[in-house]
Symmetry: D2
Amino acid sequence: MDVGFVGIGRMGRGIAGRVLGAGHALTVHNRTPGKTAELAAAGATVADSVAGACDGAEAVLTMVADDDALSEVVLAPGGLRDSLAPGAVHVTMGTHGVDAVRTLDAAHRESGQTLVAAPVLGRPDMAAAGQLGIVAGGPPEAVDRCRPLFDVIGTRTFEAGPRPESATAIKLANNFVLGCSIQVMAEAFALAGAYDVAPQTLFEVLTEGLFSAPAYKVYGDIIAREDYDRVGFTSALALKDVTLTLEAALAAGMPLPSANVLRDRLLGAIGHGDAERDWAVLAREQLRASGRA
Amino acid sequence: MDVGFVGIGRMGRGIAGRVLGAGHALTVHNRTPGKTAELAAAGATVADSVAGACDGAEAVLTMVADDDALSEVVLAPGGLRDSLAPGAVHVTMGTHGVDAVRTLDAAHRESGQTLVAAPVLGRPDMAAAGQLGIVAGGPPEAVDRCRPLFDVIGTRTFEAGPRPESATAIKLANNFVLGCSIQVMAEAFALAGAYDVAPQTLFEVLTEGLFSAPAYKVYGDIIAREDYDRVGFTSALALKDVTLTLEAALAAGMPLPSANVLRDRLLGAIGHGDAERDWAVLAREQLRASGRA
Amino acid sequence: MDVGFVGIGRMGRGIAGRVLGAGHALTVHNRTPGKTAELAAAGATVADSVAGACDGAEAVLTMVADDDALSEVVLAPGGLRDSLAPGAVHVTMGTHGVDAVRTLDAAHRESGQTLVAAPVLGRPDMAAAGQLGIVAGGPPEAVDRCRPLFDVIGTRTFEAGPRPESATAIKLANNFVLGCSIQVMAEAFALAGAYDVAPQTLFEVLTEGLFSAPAYKVYGDIIAREDYDRVGFTSALALKDVTLTLEAALAAGMPLPSANVLRDRLLGAIGHGDAERDWAVLAREQLRASGRA
Amino acid sequence: MDVGFVGIGRMGRGIAGRVLGAGHALTVHNRTPGKTAELAAAGATVADSVAGACDGAEAVLTMVADDDALSEVVLAPGGLRDSLAPGAVHVTMGTHGVDAVRTLDAAHRESGQTLVAAPVLGRPDMAAAGQLGIVAGGPPEAVDRCRPLFDVIGTRTFEAGPRPESATAIKLANNFVLGCSIQVMAEAFALAGAYDVAPQTLFEVLTEGLFSAPAYKVYGDIIAREDYDRVGFTSALALKDVTLTLEAALAAGMPLPSANVLRDRLLGAIGHGDAERDWAVLAREQLRASGRA
C-alpha cells in the first residue's frame, strides 16, 4: 500500500517505523527535516512538502501536535486538501478537538477525500513496538481500507462509528478519565496525609484493591514518591487536553463538573511553575490549595 | 481467644462466622435478636445486651451502620465503655467519621481500654469467604493482639499507624476515590454518547487500557447497561460516606473539590428518586444535568 | 415586660441596652460575669445563672456564639428548658444551624415553652443604635408578643413564618449571598487585574452601576485597597456560617455549588494564615490559587 | 466630527442617534439595509458597505453581535482595516473576547489605525437616552479624541487604561459579577424555599439590606415572581458571555470557580429548553438540580 506520513515526532516515528517494517511503501514529511533521517535509512522516501507525501498515496497518516498544526497541514495551500487524490484517506492519529475534526472532515468531503480520525492510546515506546490501542472513527469502508495499517500499528482497534469526531470524543474521554483519576488521587493522598497516613500505605490499599490498574499504579507511585520530575505527560499538555474536552462538552451543551476541577487545578499548578512537570504534580497543587505546601 | 461481636448484619454475620470457624470463643449480640440464630447454631453464645458480649472478652468487634449507632453501642449506659474489661480492645470495623472515632478513642482511653479502627474493604460475600481487606489503625501492641482475628477475616491487613482515625481516613479516601471514579465515568460516558459513541465501546477502551480494574469494570458495566437496579451500594449510603469524607476534610482544613462534585450529584440523584438505586445512577444524573434525561 | 437576656457579648450588650432603655425590666446573665457591669449600672438586674435570668420572665432573649453554646444554655440542667415558665418565649437572636434550632424548638415545646428564632442583620454599632434588621420565625402569637421588643431593637422586622427554622434559613441565605458576592468580586478583581485594570476602576464600574449596594461598596473597597486587617467579619467566622449553610442545604437535599466554592476558598485562606483577617481576603486567596500571590 | 457607524441593531440605533443628535456628520452601515431608515430620516448618510462608512471618517464606531461578526467587519476585504484612514480610530462598543480584541488591535496598528475598545453598560432604552456607562480602553490620545462622542453617548466614561483589552476585561468582569449574583440568588431562594420561606420575604431582606442595588432588585424580582418570560438577557447570550469570560481567564492562566458554576447551570437551563428565557431562570435550574422541579 502506498502510504504518506506527515509529522515525525516521538510518536510519529514509532508509528511510521511500524508501517515501513510491514512492507508498505512509505513517504514521510516533517516540517523540521532532520527528524526523518532514521526512517530514510530504513527505506522511507522523504518528501520536502506535504504535497510530496500525498503523491500517489492511498492513505496519508498525520500525527501533529495540535489543532492549529493539523489545520495548517490540511488547509494551507498545497496541503492535504489540495494534494490528496480523490478517494484517498487522511488518517489523523493525534489528539484533536471535535471542532477541528468536523471542519477538516467537511473540507475533505468537499474535495472527494475521506477523513478517518484514529487517535492512539499509548506512549512512544509502545508506538515503536506496535503496542498501541487505536480508536478509529470514519466511514466503515475507509476504516476497513486502513485496517492493514492499524494491524501493524496497534494491538487492538476500537471502532468508534461512522463519524470521525466519535473517535475524537473517545480519546478525549479517556484522557479526561485519566486526568480526573490523578486529581482524585491528589485529593485522597492529601486527605489521608492529614491524618498521618503514609502515602505508600494508601497506594497499596488502592492498587491492590479496586484500583489495580495502570492509571493508579503509575500515577499513584509518582504521587507517593513526590517524583514530579519523572515526566510522563506535562501539566501544560494536560491543560490543552482538558480544554479540548471542555470545548467538546460545550459544543454538546453539557456541563462536566469534574473537568472544571481538573482544569482549575492544572491552571494553579502551571501558575505555580509546574507546567513542565508531570501532571501528577496536581498532588502538590492540592496541598497548596489547603495551605499545606 | 474470647471474642465478643456486636452488630450482626450482612457484613457482621460473615466476619463473625470466620472468627467462630477459626475456633475462637465467640459471644454475639445484635439489637434485633433474630439475626444471631445462624451463628448460635454454629456454636456462638448469644448475649442479650452489649454488656453480655463484653463479658470476659479480650476483644470485642463491632460492625454497626453509622456513627450514631456506634456511639450508642459504646457510650450508652451498659455499653462498651462501661462493660469492656480494662486492657481489652474494641475493634470497630464499620465505616465511620473521624470525629466519632476520636471521641470514642478518648472515651476508651479514659476507661483503660483500647480502640482499634479496622474498617474493611469488600462486600458481604467476601466477608463470608474471608476475602476482605482490613485497614487497621491503633496502638501497635493492640493491633498485634488482634492479628489472629484479622488473619481469618481477611487476606491482607494494611497497617494505618498508631492512631485509629488514620484507618478511618484510609477507608474514607478509598470510598471517595471509588465514588469519584463513578462520577467521572458518568461524565465521560455522557460526553462520548453526545458524539454517538456506543457505551460498550467506551467501556472497552477504558477497561482494556489504563482502567483495567474492578472499580471501572463493575461500575462501568452498570453504566453501559443502565442497570441501576443491580444495587451494589446505594446513592443514599454513598451520600453518607461522602459527607463523612467532607467532614474529615473540613476538620483537617482541606478543600476537596472532587468530593463537592460527587456530593452535589448524589443529592441530585436522590432528589430525583434514585436514593435506593446503585450509585452508578450518577450517570443518569449527569444526563439530567444537561437536559438529556 | 419582664425580660431575661443571656449572652452579653458585643451584639448582646447593644440589644440588651435597647430593651432596657425602652423601660422593660431586664435581668441579664453572662457566663463571664464582668461583661454585665455596664448594663447593671444602667439598671439591669444581674443573674449569676441562666435560671436566674429566666425567673419571672415572659421572654428570654439569647445571643450566644454558636450552636454548642446555645444548646448548653437551653438543655443543660438548670437551662432555659428547665427554668423558663410554661407559656414563656425564648427568642434566640444569634446565627444558628437549622438542626440546632429544630432540636431546641422540640425541647421547648415539650416543656410548654415557645421558641422564636429572630436572628439579626447588622453590626454591634447598629445594635446599640436600634438599627438592626430582625428576621422573626415562630408561632405568630409568640412573635406578636415579642413585637414591643423587636420595635426597640431594630428598624424593621421581617416575618419568616410560623417555623423558627425559616428565620434561620433566611439569615443563612443572607450571609451566603454576601459571602458569594465577596468571592465573586475576588475573582472579578483578579481577572481584571490580569488585564492591567486598576482595582479602583473596577470598583467604580461596579458600585456606580448594577452593584451600588453596601455589600459591594464595603467589601469591594477592602479588596481594592487590599486592606484585609480592617476586619468586619473574619474568615474563620465565615467558614462557620457557610458550614451551617451547607448543612442546612444537605438536610434539605439540595446542592449549593456556589457555597462549595466559597467554603473551599475560605479553607484555603485559613490554611494560608488568614483566619482572623477580614473575609475579603478571599481576593488574596484567588491570586494564590492562580499562582499570582 | 466625521463619524462612521457599523451595526445598527437595538443598541446601535440608540447610540448612533445620540451621535447624530449632537451634530456630528454620521454615515451608517448595516448588513441588513432596512434598519438604517430611521437614522437616514434624521439626517444620517447611509453607506452600502463597511468601506463606505469609513470614507472620510475620523472615527468609526461598531456595535456588532459577536467576535465573528466583528472580525468580519474589520478583517474581510474592504473592511475597516482596508478602508479606515491612517490615524483614524475604530471604537468597538460591543462585548467581545480578549483574544478577538488583541487580534484586531494588532491588525489596526499594522495599518496605522487605532483601536479603542469602549463596551457600554446599559440597555437599549438607556442607549437612546444617552444614559449608558462607557468603559474605554486604548491609547490615551485616541480616547481623548473620542471624548466628544462618549459625552453624548453616556453619562460617565470609565478609563480602563492604554490597552483595549483592559476595557474588554472590565466589561466581562461586570457581566460575570452580574451572572453570579443571579446564580447565587437562585441558590439562596431555593434554600430558603426549602424551609418554607416566601420568596418575597427573602427578596425584601436582601434588597432592603446589603443588596439594595439594581442587580438584586431586578433579577430578585424576576426570581420571586418566577417571571422568566420577562426577558432582559437570555440564557443563550449569558452563556456566550461567560464563555468569553472563561476564555479570558484561561488566557491569563486563572481559575474562576464561580464562572464554572454559572456556565454549568446555564448549560443545564439551555438543555432544559430555557435558552431564550431570561437568565434568572437559573433559579428554576437550581430547583431541577435538586429534584424539586
